[in-house]
C-alpha cells in the first residue's frame, strides 16, 4: 500500500459493472470538475484584479481532474462493453 493506492480503495471497489456505474465517488469528482471548470470560465471573462492568479490556482485542480475524467470514462466503457 502507498499514499495513492490504498487498502480503503481496494476494500470498497465496485464488484459489478452496475455497481461501478452507480458508485458516487467518480460522479462526485466529475461534479467538482464541472463546478471548477465553470468557475474558471467565469473568472477568465471577469474584469477583476488577480483573476489570472486565481485561474492558475484553479488549473491545479482542473487539469488533473480532466485526466481523471478521461480515465473514469474509459473505465466505464471497458465495464459496459462486455455487457453489450
Amino acid at each position: 500500500m502507498t499514499s495513492t493506492v490504498t487498502r480503503l480503495a481496494i476494500d470498497s471497489l465496485a464488484q459489478t459493472p452496475g455497481q461501478a456505474l452507480a458508485s458516487p465517488a467518480p460522479a462526485l469528482v466529475v461534479a467538482i470538475l464541472i463546478v471548477v471548470f465553470l468557475a474558471r470560465l467565469l473568472l477568465e471573462v471577469a474584469d477583476v484584479s488577480r483573476s489570472r492568479d486565481t485561474v492558475r490556482t484553479l488549473d491545479v485542480v482542473l487539469l488533473p481532474m480532466l485526466i481523471a475524467l478521461a480515465f473514469i470514462l474509459s473505465t466505464r466503457v471497458l465495464e459496459i462493453l462486455p455487457l453489450g
Binding site: 500500500m1 480503503l8 480503495a9 471497489l13 492568479d53 492558475r56 490556482t57 491545479v60 473505465t75
Partner: protein, 285 residues
C-alpha cells in the same frame, strides 16, 4: 549573469534548507533557523482539518471521503488565493495537493483494471498537479530539491531502502499488481512502481511540502512532511504499516534536509517500492 545564477542558487537553498546554505546572507529574507509563529498556527489548522477529512474518509467510505476531501481542497485553494505571494501561500498550495491526490485515489480505482494501472492513472494526475503548483508559485526544479547529491549518499540510501522493503512486505503483505508476465511485463511494472511511487511521493512530500515547510518552520519542515505522509498512509488501514511509513518518512525527510536534494530519498523510496512490490512477491510466497 553570474550574479543572477548565484542569487537563484541562494534562493533555492534558502527554501529547501540544504547543507551549507547561505540564506542568511540574503537581505530581507527569513533566515533558515527561525520559525514563523503564524506558520505554526497555519500548519496546525490545516492539519486538524485534514485529520477530520481523513477520519470521515476512513469511517464513512469513499463517497463521503470524496466530499470531505473536496471541501478541504476548496478551502485550501481559497486560503492560498487570499494569501499574498510568499511562504504561507506556498505551504498552503503544496498541502492542497494532499486532498487532490486523495480525491483521485478514491475515485479512479476500478476492479476491471489492474492495480498497476491505478498507479499510472493517479500518478499522472498527481504529477500534473505538482507541475501546476510549481508553475503557479514560479518554482524551479532546484527549488523543490531536484538537484545533484553525492553519489555515495544516493547509493547508501538506495541500499537502505531496499532492505526496508523486507519489513514493509512482511507488514503489508503481498499485493497483486496484476502486471503482465515475461520480461516486458516486469520492466513496465518496475518503471511504473519506480516513477509513480518512488519519484512521485518524494517529489510531493519531500520536494514540495517539506521545502515549503522548511521555508517557514526551519526543521519543522521535516515534521510537516512526515505528518503529511502519515496522514496519507492512514488509508492503508494497517496501524503497524502507518507507523512504519512515518519512520521511513522521517528518515527520508532528514536525508533530504541534510543534503538539500531529494535524489537520495528518491533512490531509497524507489528501491523500497521496487523490492516490496516487484521483487519480494516473486521470491517469497
Amino acid at each position: 549573469m553570474e550574479l543572477q545564477s548565484a542569487s537563484t542558487r541562494l534562493r533555492s537553498l534558502a527554501t529547501f534548507g540544504g547543507r551549507g546554505n547561505g540564506s542568511s546572507e540574503l537581505p530581507g529574507r527569513r533566515r533558515v533557523g527561525t520559525v514563523d509563529p503564524r506558520a505554526i498556527r497555519l500548519v496546525g489548522g490545516i492539519g486538524a482539518v485534514f485529520l477530520v477529512a481523513e477520519a470521515f474518509t476512513l469511517v464513512s467510505g469513499p463517497a463521503v471521503g470524496v466530499l470531505a476531501q473536496a471541501v478541504l481542497l476548496i478551502t485550501l485553494l481559497t486560503l492560498s488565493m487570499r494569501q499574498g505571494a510568499g511562504g504561507h501561500q506556498r505551504l498552503t498550495l503544496a498541502l492542497a495537493l494532499l486532498p487532490l491526490v486523495q480525491l483521485l485515489s478514491l475515485a479512479l480505482p476500478a476492479a476491471i483494471i489492474p492495480i498497476l494501472a491505478w498507479y499510472l492513472e493517479i500518478g499522472l494526475g498527481a504529477f500534473e498537479a505538482i507541475l501546476l503548483v510549481m508553475r503557479r508559485l514560479d518554482l524551479t526544479f532546484r527549488d523543490v530539491g531536484v538537484r545533484r547529491a553525492p553519489i555515495g549518499e544516493v547509493v547508501a540510501v538506495g541500499v537502505i531502502g531496499a532492505f526496508l522493503a523486507v519489513p514493509a512486505y512482511l507488514i503489508a503483505g503481498p499485493v497483486n499488481l496484476g502486471q503482465g508476465g515475461g520480461f516486458v511485463g516486469l520492466a513496465i511494472a518496475s518503471a511504473i512502481v519506480i516513477v509513480f511511487i518512488g519519484v512521485l511521493e518524494e517529489l510531493l512530500f519531500r520536494g514540495l511540502i517539506q521545502s515549503a515547510g522548511t521555508q517557514l518552520l526551519s526543521r519543522g519542515g521535516v515534521v510537516v512532511s512526515v505528518a503529511a505522509t502519515t496522514l496519507m498512509y492512514s488509508a492503508s488501514l494497517n496501524p503497524r504499516y502507518i507507523v512504519f511509513a512515518a519512520l521511513v518518512a522521517t528518515f527520508f525527510g532528514i536525508v533530504a534536509r541534510r543534503s538539500g536534494s531529494i535524489a537520495a530519498p528518491v533512490a531509497g523510496h524507489a528501491a523500497l517500492a521496487w523490492v516490496q512490490f516487484i521483487v519480494l512477491p516473486m521470491i517469497l510466497p
